[in-house]
Symmetry: D2
Subunit: 208 residues, 4 copies
Amino acid sequence: MSLTYPAWHWIHEWSTPGTVHLHAVKSVYAFGRTKYQTYLVVEFDDLGKALVIDGKVQSAAIDEFVYHESLVQPAMLAHGSPRRVLILGGGEGATAREALRFPSVERVVMVDIDEEIVRACKELLPEWHRGAFDDPRLQVVIDDAEHYLRSSSERFDVIVADLVDPQAGGPAWRLYTKESYELIKSRLNPGGVFVTQATSPVLTPKVH
Amino acid sequence: MSLTYPAWHWIHEWSTPGTVHLHAVKSVYAFGRTKYQTYLVVEFDDLGKALVIDGKVQSAAIDEFVYHESLVQPAMLAHGSPRRVLILGGGEGATAREALRFPSVERVVMVDIDEEIVRACKELLPEWHRGAFDDPRLQVVIDDAEHYLRSSSERFDVIVADLVDPQAGGPAWRLYTKESYELIKSRLNPGGVFVTQATSPVLTPKVH
Amino acid sequence: MSLTYPAWHWIHEWSTPGTVHLHAVKSVYAFGRTKYQTYLVVEFDDLGKALVIDGKVQSAAIDEFVYHESLVQPAMLAHGSPRRVLILGGGEGATAREALRFPSVERVVMVDIDEEIVRACKELLPEWHRGAFDDPRLQVVIDDAEHYLRSSSERFDVIVADLVDPQAGGPAWRLYTKESYELIKSRLNPGGVFVTQATSPVLTPKVH
Amino acid sequence: MSLTYPAWHWIHEWSTPGTVHLHAVKSVYAFGRTKYQTYLVVEFDDLGKALVIDGKVQSAAIDEFVYHESLVQPAMLAHGSPRRVLILGGGEGATAREALRFPSVERVVMVDIDEEIVRACKELLPEWHRGAFDDPRLQVVIDDAEHYLRSSSERFDVIVADLVDPQAGGPAWRLYTKESYELIKSRLNPGGVFVTQATSPVLTPKVH
C-alpha cells in the first residue's frame, strides 16, 4: 500500500542562515523573472493567495489588510487632511487602495520600478487593489523611485515607502539610506508625513 | 549588510516518511491541476527542465534519455521486428519517440488519461518528444489505459507501460495489479513483449 | 573548488501541514526518549540554547523570559499576595523561578510527569531555573498532573499550567479539557488565580 | 483534534546548492565538535544507525558493507597476497575490518586524525568494526595522514584512503592532490596497490 505524503511544493523563506519559514504551495498563478526580480503569485496552503518576490512573501490574502492598513492609515491620520500622496513601490495596489480610501485625497502617485509585476498584480490580485488601478485619482509611474524623486519637484502631504526589503543586489537597497531619506523629505509639503515599511527584526534580524 | 541566501523555491520529493530529495526550482514554465493530477513543468537548478506530477519528478532534461531508452529499446530488440507498439501513459512523448526510432515500426498507439498534461508536454517539452507527436505513425488516445484495453481488441508486438507510480489515490494504481497484467497480456501478439516502469526500490521502498 | 553549504542539522517545527519553521542546530547537549516524550537540548543558530520536546521548541535562551514572566507574574499580581503556588508541568524550572521571585511566596509545588526531562533541565538549563531547584520552598513532584490533583486536596493561591501543547498522543492532552479545568478550580483557595499557556493560534491554528 | 505531523529532526545533506537529501533522525547516540570536525552518531528513520561528519553521511548500517567491501576487497584481490595494509582515515573501523578479513594480512596501520571520532566509533559502532579494534594485527595511529606518511618510511602492499570528502576547510582537502598521491605511491611496496574513495559525482558534482 502506498503512503500519503506531506506537501511537495514549498517556498523557503530564509530569515537568517539558521531560520527558515516554509509555506506549502497549492497552486501557481504566475511566475516571472523580470529585469529586476523573480516573482511568483501562488496559493499557499496556509496563507491563501500571495505574492512572493525574490523569496520573500510580500503580502498574503489572509492578512494583507493588517500590513497595508497599518502602513498607510496612521500616516494619513497624523497628517489630518492629506490631498496628495506619493507611494514608492506598492506594486500590489493595496497601498494605493488604502490611500484612496481617505476622503480628502485628490491625487495619488505610485512609482514602481517593475512594470511586469505591477501588471501581474493588477490582473491577479483584485482582492488587493479592489479597483484602485481604475481610480482616476491614481497615476502609476514605472520608474526607479530614487530617479523619480530626483526628476520631479512635486511635493506631497504623505509619502509611503512600500518597497521590498533592502536585500543585497535587490532593486530597493539604496532607498533605505540616509541620502534617500533626505531626498524624500525634500519632497514633503510643510506638515507632510513620511512612513516606510522597514522589514521585521524577527524575520530579517541580520539586515540590521 | 544583507546576506545572500540559498534557493527559496523547492520541490520536496518524498521517498519515505524519513527520506526527502529537494530540488531547487529556477523557473516555472507551467502549473496545472487537471481532473487527475497536479503538474509542474519547471527548470530545476540541478536537473534542468523537468516534468513533476503529484510531487514526483517524471523525467528531467539531464537524464530522460537514460530512462526512456532503457524502457523501450530492450523490449523492441527482444522482439526483433516490432511493427505495432502500444504505450500506456507516456505523456512526455519520449517513449513514443523511442518506439518510432525503430525502423520496423508501422504504428504506435499511445494511451494517456490526461489530455491537459499531454498538451503541456507537446508544447513545453520539445526536447523530449522531438517531433514524435507529428509522426503520422503515432495515434494519441486520451483514455484510461485499462478502459482502452477492455474496449479495443487490437493486438501489439510490444506494449510499454510508462505510467506514474502506483500512489494511493493516483490514476495508475489499478494498472500495477495482476488483473491488469493479464489484460495486457491478452493484447499481445504471439511473441509479443511487455515492459513496464516499476518505480525504484530506492526512491519508493515503501510501495513494495 | 568545494562549496560552503548552509546548515545541515535542523529542527522542523510543523505549525500546520503547510507551515514549517526550521531552526538550525549548532550543538546537541542531550537527546532522550523518555516514557512519555522525545526531547533534545540543543544550541540553535538563531535562538541559542533551547529545549525541544516532540518537535516543539518549548523555550529558548533568547526569549524564555518573555514567556515565563508573562505566564507567571500577571497571575501573581492579580492575586496580590500569593503564598502557595502550584505549577503543572514547568519542567525547565523557569516557571518555578518566576513564582519564587514573588516575596510573599512560601511554598511552590511543581508537578511534572517526566522525571528524565526535569533532571535534564536541572543539569543543562541553569540559565532557566537559576537555582530554583535548590530553593527549599520548592517541592518537585513527579506525577501526572491530573492524577496529582485528584490524589491531593491541597489548595493554592495561584495555579499555573505550563504544559506541552495538547498534541494527539502527547501526555498533556487531557489537561486542556473542561473536566480538568473544573478539577483545577476545585484546588484554588478563595480568590485564587489560574493561568495556562494555551499554545499559539499562529503556531498551531489547527489545534483549535 | 490535533494532527500527526511528519518527522521533525532532520539532517540536510547538500549535494549541490540546488539538491538536498533529507534524512529523518530518530535518535541521537552522540554529538561532538572535535578539533577538526562536527560529528553525529544517529539512528536514521531510513538508513538505520549512521555516522554523520560535517553534514555528510559517512556510512550507514543499512549499506555500509557495500561501501567498505567495495573499497577494500578489490584492491586486496588485485594484489593477491597483501601482508601489510595502510588505511588513511577509516575512523569507523570497518575498513580495518575488511582488511583484517584477508588471510594473508599480518599488519594493518590505520591513521586517523580525529581521536574523538575514532573513540566514538569504537564505542558506538560495533556493527561496523566488529571487534577489529581489538585485533592485535591492527595499530591505530592518531595523526594527520600526510604528516604520518612524511614521518614514516614504512612501505605497504595495499594503501586504502578512506577519507572524508575534500570539502573546503575540511581536514582531508590536501590528501586529494597530486602531491599527496605521489607521497602515497612512494610508500607502496613493489606490486603495491592504492585505492581511494573519491566522493560520488552524483552526490557532489560541484567538487569536480
